[in-house]
Subunit: 377 residues, 2 copies
């Protein structure tokens, strides 16, 4: 099947993807907490439909373009999980008027004031989660801060819906051990629950307690007080997730199909037609994981790497350079010009974002199915 596809392209191993989706769903169902999958990784409706928790039906997006695409395909309950820019509020109002059930996120009293002002102007009753910072990595109110209550007050005074809190333990990507991720998960949950309780004590509804990252969702054991968990990259998994032991390398469902176009005989290297345009420039490895350059190469006609690792050590726009991780020269006779290889991505979100869509391979007998991605903002 792979011989007929145009290279470079993204290939999904359908069985691995379904196993990844099922594994996360089972884990969260066992803890009786809803999954609100983050669709920024897949950006595709067919995949999204298999990820969405049938008990809740909601999803998470990272752009208004994703919100539009999934709304047009029938998903209505959407959390836009990036602090809203005041300049986007008119676009948000327009979508709410069209019937989109869009929840916003913010983490500053200035943004709350911008939302309150837009409420008065547009008549839209915005539904807002207050973002909470649990690890100092990116954004959010400190759970114990005065600004949290100040922002909630501004929103409530303007008759906006202070629906709850959202936290993302992005720091879990920096962990070297599973124990570290478990501690991050505890801190993520307790930060969110504390902030929500403070809001409720101050008289706000705050029924939503939304937490998540794929590592903390995977290793979290206590979801008390949590109403939903967000995870997204688990759908494909990647080398960063394998480096965190969130998955095995064999679980990675996404790869870039490429073809050998040259031999650098004097260096013992191969040239392939997948450069950074197809692989992305993401080098994001987990702190304890080996450096696989721009990706780990699978053996010909296989979705598994060999014992002696081949990696993409260099990348130009449309050229990838492949060498042995050990430094020993590659035998060019083993990889003639025209050989097809699959490359496992460092970061599935970044690699997938370089492509207009995927070829889904369900089994060896079925024709690959094209799945398009949405893009832009």
């Amino acid at each position: 099947m792979l011989e007929s596809l145009p290279t470079p392209c993204l290939v999904i191993d359908g069985r691995k993807m379904q196993a990844n989706i099922a594994s996360m769903a089972t884990h969260l169902a066992q803890h009786n907490v809803a999954l609100r999958p983050h669709l920024k990784t897949c950006k595709n409706i067919e995949i999204a439909q298999t990820m969405i928790d049938p008990r809740s039906g909601g999803a998470t997006v990272s752009t208004l373009a994703e919100a539009d695409y999934f709304f047009d395909h029938g998903i209505n309950d959407l959390l836009y999980a990036v602090g809203v820019a005041p300049g986007k509020l008119a676009a948000v109002s327009e979508r709410m008027t069209r019937g989109m059930n869009l929840t916003l996120v913010l983490d500053h009293p200035q943004t709350a004031r911008a939302v309150a002002k837009a409420r008065a102007e547009s008549g839209c009753r915005y539904r807002v989660l207050l973002e909470i910072d649990c690890d100092g990595q990116r954004a959010g109110f400190k759970p114990e801060s005065a600004e949290l209550l100040e922002a909630a007050e501004i929103l409530a005074d303007a008759d906006c819906d202070v629906a709850g809190v959202m936290v993302h333990a992005g720091g879990s990507y920096l962990c070297r051990t599973t124990r570290c991720i478990q501690e991050m998960a505890i801190h993520e949950r307790t930060s969110a629950v504390l902030a929500a309780e403070r809001l409720r004590t101050a008289g706000h509804p705050a029924e939503v307690v939304s937490i998540g990252s794929t590592p903390t969702a995977t290793f979290g054991e206590n979801f008390e007080g949590v109403s939903e968990v967000r995870a997204g990259v688990h759908v494909f998994q990647d080398l960063v997730m394998a480096g965190l032991e969130v998955c095995r390398i064999d679980d990675i469902a996404l790869s870039v199909l490429t073809e050998v176009i040259g031999h650098r005989s004097s260096q013992g290297q191969l040239v392939v037609d997948a450069g950074w345009m197809a692989l992305s420039r993401d080098r994001g490895r987990a702190p304890s994981a080996p450096d696989r350059g721009y990706g780990l190469v699978c053996e010909p006609d296989s979705s598994a790497p060999g014992d002696d690792e081949l990696i993409v050590h260099g990348a130009n726009q449309e050229h990838g350079l492949i060498s042995h991780a050990s430094g020993k020269p590659i035998d060019p006779d083993r990889y003639p010009i025209g050989t097809r290889l699959r490359i496992l991505p460092n970061h599935a979100c970044a690699t997938a974002a370089q492509h207009p869509g995927y070829w889904l391979l369900d089994d060896e007998k079925t024709e690959p199915q094209w799945l398009a991605r949405c893009a832009g903002w």
Copy 2:
């Protein structure tokens, strides 16, 4: 004008872009050598039309998708400047049958044999440039190698057109001095001329001697024996080019427009709505240039950086983190939530590739014009 655009988005300063295009055109015209612009940077027809040399009319592309897009918009003479994968020859034949004047590149006798075989099967008379390696950086025959003549012989025996040679001095990106780039330019030219002469001596036409990279095209002073020069990133310029002194920072015509969505007050940092999805993960700085993270931030309502540099030091998918390069905290009152900023890219090709198109600003009085990009393979 910038207040009305949806963020994040790409903005082109039209006057700077036209000055960049004119500067390269003037330099090469003075040396009486044709420009075959590389369109992998802009991927847009309106911009391509202003880059193309009216004396020759040809262009360079890096994917068949670019070839299709530009052919559909009236550009017929196209050099596909990535070693052709045997698996793409059927697609090439199909395009030639539709009237596309597509020139291929290869650098291995195995590929020449694949082209010869396809010639017999499809009936298409492929036009081929043999790629020459001048710096050991990526691909190409050594100019003095036996394999160069072997590949040419295989092609000629199959009645393919051995049209000439192509070389790209990618090593010029690693230079620390202009003198180094000038030496790279000399080596690029002499390697190409030597290889072409060897082909002619062996009885092949080899009328094309195609050289180029934006740095060597800019600083090259001798183009004797060269039939065309390829350059592409000069259209926008970027921080890598500024680091090589190919341009000034003030010449950079491309930026990412973003909005402040948060303050990390305890760290003295800003959060903006341009993450790696909008900026790319490209960190590619020139060897002698300072590290600007994921990009250099311009002052509000300006396309120029301030004296005290702000850089994007961190990036998640849709979040950028901005700090002072000096480490001193940013005064949040100077950048309220909702402030719009422009970010100059490290690598224009990579940043532009993250976006569906550009907003072209010609002057303050004209509405921004949307220019779409082609994408995929």
